[in-house]
């Protein structure tokens, strides 16, 4: 049985003197009746697929609706001029989040993390950091365990589908997972991983799912940027010793409550939010 709460996983870490990622891996090996080595190999495959997914980006491609596709390339060109507001590393995070979002809209092969709509958040944070600072690959695979474990607990207590809980369940969860993962890469403890996740989730709580025309394009592609930025900020806050005043499990439960109260027009039906704007109607009429 997978962990039902972050607390349960954290208690195991303390009791057995293991790191958070290890607690997730042991549970996976046990649950699926595979060896730790086989579990690791599978996670390594996800890590490779995530990098390949990013590298196939083509700035010339446009989605079928022609609403998105070239943004990753535009951000890259801007960054290379060396005069961004947020600095070179964060500008790379932005362009990588955009690239993955565009790849997904163009029906390329991606890694859902936790969903396809949110597939840009994790690689934007993790692959960018890995390449920038030359981190050992093993550390990144450990980080994927952290992210997957966090995501599974969110799935157990709340949900991961925009149609069920709005975008907070997709980009919100992806951001919480990425915050936890990068916190581990930077040496955060199991408790700090929990705080990073909690702060990331809280910052995006209430986020609605309002895709124009129901397509995973607008505002989804750019929202991946928001999720990635937020993850890095939450992890940095946690590494600074700042704690979430509300325990992470209670934040997840609150997210579920908010999702349950969310009007159906704001849950991936393409009716409310920016999907209901006059401009969206105009765009749809032109398709």
């Amino acid at each position: 049985m997978s962990y039902q709460s972050m607390e349960e996983a954290q208690i195991r870490c303390e009791k057995e003197g293991i790191e958070f990622w290890k607690a997730i891996q042991l549970e996976d090996a046990d649950e699926r009746n595979v060896t730790e080595e086989d579990s690791w190999k599978e996670m390594k495959h996800m890590w490779k697929a995530m990098q390949e997914g990013l590298d196939v980006y083509d700035p010339e491609l446009m989605s079928r609706s022609r609403m998105v596709g070239k943004e990753g390339g535009m951000m890259d060109a801007y960054r290379k001029k060396g005069d961004t507001l947020c600095g070179d590393f964060m500008a790379k995070v932005i362009s990588n989040a955009l690239k993955m979002g565009c790849n997904n809209a163009c029906m390329k092969r991606i890694v859902a993390a936790p969903t396809a709509g949110a597939c840009g958040v994790m690689p934007a944070v993790l692959v960018t950091y890995y390449r920038e600072y030359d981190i050992p690959e093993e550390k990144m695979i450990e980080a994927l365990y952290v992210a997957a474990g966090v995501g599974q607990i969110i799935a157990n207590r709340a949900y991961l589908a925009g149609a069920s809980g709005g975008c907070q369940a997709e980009v919100g969860s992806g951001s919480g997972m990425a915050a936890a993962a990068i916190c581990h890469v930077k040496g955060g403890s199991a408790a700090q991983i929990g705080h990073a996740c909690a702060m990331a989730l809280k910052n995006l709580m209430g986020l609605v799912c309002d895709p124009v025309g129901g397509l995973v394009e607008v505002p989804c592609v750019k929202r991946n940027v928001g999720g990635a930025f937020n993850a890095i900020a939450a992890a940095d806050m946690s590494l600074a010793g700042i704690e979430s005043q509300i325990p992470v499990d209670q934040v997840i439960d609150a997210m579920k409550e908010v999702g349950d109260k969310m009007d159906v027009s704001l849950r991936e039906t393409g009716i409310g939010g920016v999907a209901g704007s006059p401009k969206a109607a105009e765009v749809m009429a032109g398709l």
């Binding site: 997978s2 936790p114 969903t115 995501g151 991961l160 039906t269």
Partner: protein
């Protein structure tokens, strides 16, 4: 509950895990339950599947699944054309299904010389699904574990016989659910097993009195 690789993953063709990958999986499991490629498929989409399915390629993914494609198959965008080449007729319509999950599809499959089969399933996010109706009987399973599906007459002793046959073959039951349409009517057992159920055990089950049909889905 699925594994961590349902959370990180699947590796899939975009743009939506619930509306594209999940839809492909529903089609794929429907095909496996039917045991063959249907000659004709009637697909109904409900809720968000109906409202936004076209833009997400839900329609193409469902048909791709019925053609046996997995969610990472790069041919998903061309599934309508492939269905035509392979002679599988299909229709897709919106339909309001009472009290159904927002991402629900209903599929009626027909082929020459075999009974028609109806399944209803919904996509719960991250590419994971649940089958919730089989030929009008409420069921609940994901296809993520080895799953034995037995249709039988609702009468005393059937469950005991199935449990005994599995136990004799050293097959451990992970979960077991029983459903029926009415007292003394048709019942369905959904048995998730830790081991693969071999052909001879399937034949043994199929030969028992009151057992109408036995089907085994390999974990996927």
């Amino acid at each position: 509950m699925g594994s961590i690789f349902d959370i990180l993953g699947p590796v899939m063709v975009g743009p939506s895990s619930s509306h594209t990958a999940g839809a492909a999986r529903i089609g794929m499991i429907a095909r496996q339950l039917y045991g063959r490629q249907p000659k004709k498929a009637t697909v109904y989409l409900h809720g968000s599947f109906a409202a936004t399915g076209k833009g997400h390629g839900t329609d193409r993914a469902l048909i791709a699944g019925l053609l046996g494609m997995k969610p990472d198959d790069m041919r998903i965008p061309e599934s309508f054309e492939i269905a035509k080449e392979e002679g599988m007729d299909f229709t897709i319509e919106a339909k309001d299904i009472r009290e159904a999950h927002p991402n629900t599809a209903q599929i009626i499959m027909e082929a020459d010389g075999v009974n028609t089969m109806m399944i209803q399933a919904h996509s719960i996010g991250g590419g994971r699904i649940r089958v919730c109706k089989l030929d009008g009987i409420d069921v609940s399973f994901s296809g993520e574990s080895n799953t034995l599906i037995i249709r039988n007459e609702d009468a005393p002793g059937r469950i005991k016989e199935v449990a005994a046959a599995l136990s004799d073959a050293q097959i451990n039951i992970a979960t077991m659910q029983v459903f029926r349409d009415k007292r003394g009517g048709i019942a369905v057992m959904v048995v998730e097993t830790d081991q693969i159920v071999p052909g001879e055990v399937m034949d043994n089950l199929q030969s028992k009195d009151g057992i109408i049909r036995v089907k085994f889905l390999l974990a996927n």
